[in-house]
């Protein structure tokens, strides 16, 4: 169908998300992007943040890592190194991961290690951001 989008989110571990949606919001490297059906074919990069999939007025939130997005008129395919649905995010664990990563960054690290740790930090921050949006009292 042309007035729906198939949103696919795939990580090296598994296919996290595969559903028909009305609209998708992506954390593009140059700012947030909203994608509606019949978009022109686009290849873009995303930074870690939140993806919002809207279907019939209902929003599904996911935290994603850095990655690439392929957009065609009927499909949005996100390839990323992390994708977690909002309901699967463990706030305590994410908070711990953030602290650990921040502490690690204080130490002296090789470039490779620093990049990995920084990515881990961004992952946990993205998860925290998604979770907090729904429940601001945390």
């Amino acid at each position: 169908m042309a007035n729906m989008l198939t949103l696919e989110i795939v990580t090296p571990e598994k296919k996290t998300f595969s559903e028909e949606v009305d609209m998708v919001t992506l954390p593009g490297v140059e700012g947030e992007m909203g994608i509606f059906p019949n978009h022109i074919p686009l290849l873009t990069q995303i930074s870690s943040g939140e993806v919002v999939a809207r279907k019939g007025g209902q929003d599904t939130l996911l935290a994603v890592g850095e990655g690439f997005v392929e957009i065609t008129d009927s499909r949005v395919a996100i390839m990323t190194d992390m994708a977690v649905r909002e309901e699967d995010i463990d706030l305590v664990k994410a908070e711990e991961a953030r602290k650990r990563a921040e502490e690690r960054l204080q130490e002296k690290l090789s470039d490779e290690e620093e990049a990995t740790t920084r990515a881990a930090l961004l992952h946990s921050l993205a998860q925290l951001k998604v979770k907090r949006r729904r429940s601001p009292n945390h």
């Binding site: 090296p12 140059e30 690439f68 392929e70 390839m79």
Partner: protein
């Protein structure tokens, strides 16, 4: 006729061997499950990436990237992914035979991952440039080191083509030696396309050819997408190789255990026959002695 003592000794030694092979089978079986899971779950990502890149590169227009350009092949390199240890049936030898076929005049550089491959290169006096290691649970960083090295060889013009040879995991009983083109990225072939049997988690449908827009600029997106793709191909190859290795080892060890069991059975039968014969002999001797008295 062998003596009972010799037979008893042999039975004991076969029993010990079967205990070892059974233990190895158990270890391989538990590792196998994890490795297979990892290999299979990486496939949808690999497929999607392949899909996107083949779409994009067929419609690039003006844009080009050094890693996309094919040039006349004077020198080739092969990344050889094997296991570290043996005792896994014909796994490594099948792959190495395949590789040897590709390189009859020995004009190829080799980059190896896994000790068996390095040993093969040394034994056949081929040219080894680098030797990488990968752990039981392949890490992405290990794959990145591997592909980084291959990319630098290609960029410096030392080689004009890089292939990656590994064992593709089909199922527990079947592993397929595969040689997959790594660089330059030209013709796209499905990474798992010729592997049937396992479900890839729903193949994603391909679209008709369309021209893509890029955001940010094509050079930025492709500049990070292409190395990432190569890293991922290397990573998936390591995963497939590991899954194949543990499956092959499990099967090899299972048949070794079964053979040992059969051997013990035969030897026990033999042992009983010998024992019985010697008892009969003794009775006969006593009976004739009694008669003589």
């Amino acid at each position: 006729m062998p003596s009972t003592r010799d037979l008893r000794r042999r039975i004991k030694s076969v029993k010990n061997t079967s205990q070892i092979t059974r233990a190895m089978q158990m270890v391989a079986a538990s590792k196998m499950r994890k490795a297979q899971q990892a290999a299979l779950s990486g496939r949808p990502y690999a497929e999607l990436m392949n899909d996107v890149l083949s779409q994009v590169t067929s419609n690039l227009g003006e844009f080009s990237h050094p890693l996309l350009e094919s040039r006349p092949v004077k020198k080739k390199a092969i990344i050889l992914v094997t296991s570290d240890k043996g005792l896994c049936g014909g796994l490594n030898s099948n792959l190495l035979r395949e590789v040897a076929k590709l390189d009859p005049d020995r004009n190829t550089l080799y980059i190896t991952a896994g000790r068996k491959g390095s040993q093969f290169i040394a034994r056949t006096k081929r040219e080894l440039t680098a030797e990488f290691q990968y752990s039981d649970v392949p890490a992405f960083t290990e794959a990145r080191a591997l592909s980084k090295f291959a990319i630098s060889l290609f960029e410096e013009g030392k080689v004009d083509q890089v292939d990656i040879a590994f064992t593709n995991f089909v199922n527990t009983l079947v592993q397929k030696p595969t040689v997959f083109p790594f660089l330059p990225i030209g013709e796209f072939r499905s990474f798992t396309g010729d592997v049937k049997g396992e479900d890839m988690g729903g193949a994603l449908e391909t679209n008709s050819l369309v021209e893509y827009k890029f955001e940010p600029a094509p050079s930025t997106v492709m500049g990070s997408l292409i190395p990432h793709y190569l890293n991922f191909v290397a990573f998936q190859s390591l995963l497939e190789a590991k899954a194949s290795e543990h499956s092959a080892r499990m099967v090899a060890m299972k048949s070794a255990t079964d053979n040992a069991k059969q051997l013990i059975k035969d030897l026990t039968l033999e042992f009983n026959k010998v024992r019985q014969a010697s008892i009969t002999q003794e009775i006969l001797e006593i009976a004739t002695a009694a008669l003589a008295v």
